[in-house]
């Protein structure tokens, strides 16, 4: 009977971890003072490239590397356009989204129309490796074991990246320099920090992290190329909103992912809860299912409104975000 809660918690993590990748990747980029609206497209490219490389070599490691590199190249393109050529960041980001999603369809259509078709993973080593791993002792804990410690390796990697990034920002000198660039690039420059190098590096790494999130969606949530919707399915956009919710902190991004994930899972699992506990939660079925479908987005909206009302909630926002830094302008 209580399996339904285990399953609920399990689904919160399994279906929302890509948001964590998208959000932490975007935080890293925004901390350098650049606003990249190309999360959706970057994730799509990482997903397709990683998935195909993985299917070809049957190796999760190769899939991750290729996904990271492919998205990193998109990050390189973004940096070249906005840092070196000083192009408008908003427009460049939107272009990357359009390009990335179109890239997904371009490759997808070509492969699906080919005689061999879209590569299928069922039964391969890659498929086995991307599924849940069993951790001795931890996975066997009742309730928590199944919900928290029975996931694929990419889920743990996502959490690890969030923690490491938090430490990086808080405890290391390059992290401090990065935050300085995001606040005031001219001041950082005058102290001898190589602004362009820092921007390039962190935009590329941030994009690479997003790509891993896309790969996760391809391996664990999608994996078939079927005309009507892209694997990323709007997760990139939600990630951008979650950055504000998390107040530009990777640790809070973890919390934001879980909260958003709760409502995202509720829209699917509300019926299961009502079915298992007809007396206490039966009322859930009286609410129209369309309300549950809208709920995650209503919550996003509420969060954006409330965080915008007080400047305290935006204390983590880099002051120079969205503005290009041009040295001779000083």
């Amino acid at each position: 009977m209580f399996e339904v809660f285990t399953l609920f918690l399990f689904n919160i993590i399994v279906y929302n971890i890509p948001l964590l990748y998208g959000t932490t990747g975007e935080i890293m980029i925004e901390k350098s003072g650049s606003l990249n609206l190309g999360v959706e497209g970057t994730m799509a490219i990482g997903a397709v490239a990683g998935y195909l490389a993985g299917a070809k070599t049957d190796s999760l490691l190769v899939a991750c590397l290729v996904s990271f590199i492919a998205s990193g190249l998109v990050g390189l393109l973004f940096s070249f356009l906005t840092v070196t050529l000083q192009a408008n960041q908003n427009v460049t980001g939107l272009t990357i989204t359009t390009f990335g999603v179109a890239f997904y369809y371009f490759i997808g259509n070509a492969l699906s129309n080919s005689s061999a078709g879209w590569p299928k993973l069922s039964g391969t080593r890659l498929d086995a490796h991307s599924q849940a791993i069993h951790i001795p002792v931890l996975s066997d804990i009742p309730f928590i074991g199944k919900a928290v410690f029975s996931h694929g390796i990419l889920v743990y990697l996502g959490v690890l990246i969030a923690i490491l990034m938090w430490l990086y920002f808080k405890k290391t000198v390059p992290g401090l320099k990065l935050r300085a660039i995001g606040e005031n690039p001219a001041a950082a420059d005058s102290l001898g920090v190589n602004v362009a190098l820092y921007k390039y590096t962190h935009i590329i790494i941030g994009s690479g992290i997003m790509g891993l999130g896309g790969l996760y969606m391809g391996l664990n949530m999608g994996g078939t190329f079927e005309g009507s919707n892209c694997w990323i399915n709007g997760y990139g956009w939600i990630s951008i909103a979650l950055v504000i919710f998390a107040n530009w902190s990777p640790a809070k991004a973890l919390l934001g992912t879980l909260i958003f994930g709760f409502f995202n899972t509720l829209r699917v699992q509300n019926a299961a809860l009502a079915y298992t506990f007809p007396d206490t939660m039966g009322w859930l079925t009286n609410i129209p299912s369309h309300f549950f479908s809208a709920l995650p987005f209503i919550i996003t909206l509420i969060v954006l409104i409330t965080t915008s009302m007080s400047s305290k909630n935006k204390s983590g926002e880099p002051q120079a975000i969205g503005r290009n830094y041009y040295r001779e302008d000083r």
């Binding site: 279906y15 299928k120 079915y275 299912s289």
Partner: protein, 403 residues
Amino acid sequence: MKKLISMLVTAALAVTSVFALAGCNAAKESEGGSGASNFKVGAIYINSQNDTSGYTYAHHKGITKAMQSVGLDPSKDLYIVDNVPEDDEKVKQAVDQLAGNGCNIIFGISFGYINAFEEKAKEYPDIIFSHATGYLSNDKNFNNYFGRIYQARYLSGIAAGYKSLELGNNNIGYVSAWGTEYAETCSGINAFAMGCMSVNPDAKISVYEISTWGDQQLERQAAETLIDTYGCCVIAQHCDSSQPQIVANEKGVFGCGYNSDMTAEAPNAHLTAPIWNWDAYYATAMKAAMTNPATFMTEVGNYYEGLNAGLVDISPISSNCTPETKEAIEIAKDLMKKGEWDVFSGVKLSFSGSAGSVTVEKNNAALVTNDGSEIVAAGGPSVDDGVIQGSMNYYVEGVTQVN
């Protein structure tokens, strides 16, 4: 100097453009010379003609295959306007464009094109308008067409019913885009459920409605919920992607896909899938329109065929099915093909016996909804086609929607 260069460039441009135009004309002439037929087909699609699965893909494949079978060349004689939303103005523009291309027959594949088609059929009396899934028509040049996919769903239900008997689990799941809002999804669910119950009278069908035609993540989660919470042992589906089948495969249960043979995606799970062969209709319609457009409405008229015309069928029965499945499906298919029996009537089929000696029994039993109201009395005739196509908005007994 600058002036000289710009003059040279202009001159060069002018000269090349003349050549380009000449090339164009030459190409056009040769095309016109070799074109054997002057019959042109127009098509308006809701999604892209480059889709590789799903609704538009199935129609596009059907139209091109039918054209080849009646001797037309899809690369020359087919004009497409795709990604046309269900908006009257946009549809009218698409029709005007195709009429300008000289199309003799125009197919519109989405329900919402209905009003624009009715209006434009009056404006262009020489063009035949053919509209899928609708209910309007006139007696000269405007018909509607659809198929009895519920018959194929009934057959896949038989496969699911046998599987549930074998596993000793009466819970069968169904991931559906919509529930009772559309007669198309509703009749599909009911027919599938009745197929299951013809084999396993105790079968319980749990429907999860995802409220969209396609969303891979939702389809996936719906299937997981049906398996984990409701204990379903077979997952059927009426949605775009094969995610429900992939989940069934991962979780070691079974499934019935839709639209295409999904055995490749779910090798250990897939039983059989209801499929469309749209070319059956398109070939009939094109032939009639090519022979004599004036008699199109008497020759073809409003088209609503099923297994008998080959418009719907099921994909090959996979090795995951129980041994009795094939025999029972053949028997039911035969009855429907001959027109001796149909799904939504006061007579129910009941299969028994083991492989090699499967027998069917026809029992008079009322068609009852899941809240107990009677639709057809025991022994009564089949409901009207209009009900199956348009007004069915109830589940039969044995079906529950879980969300």
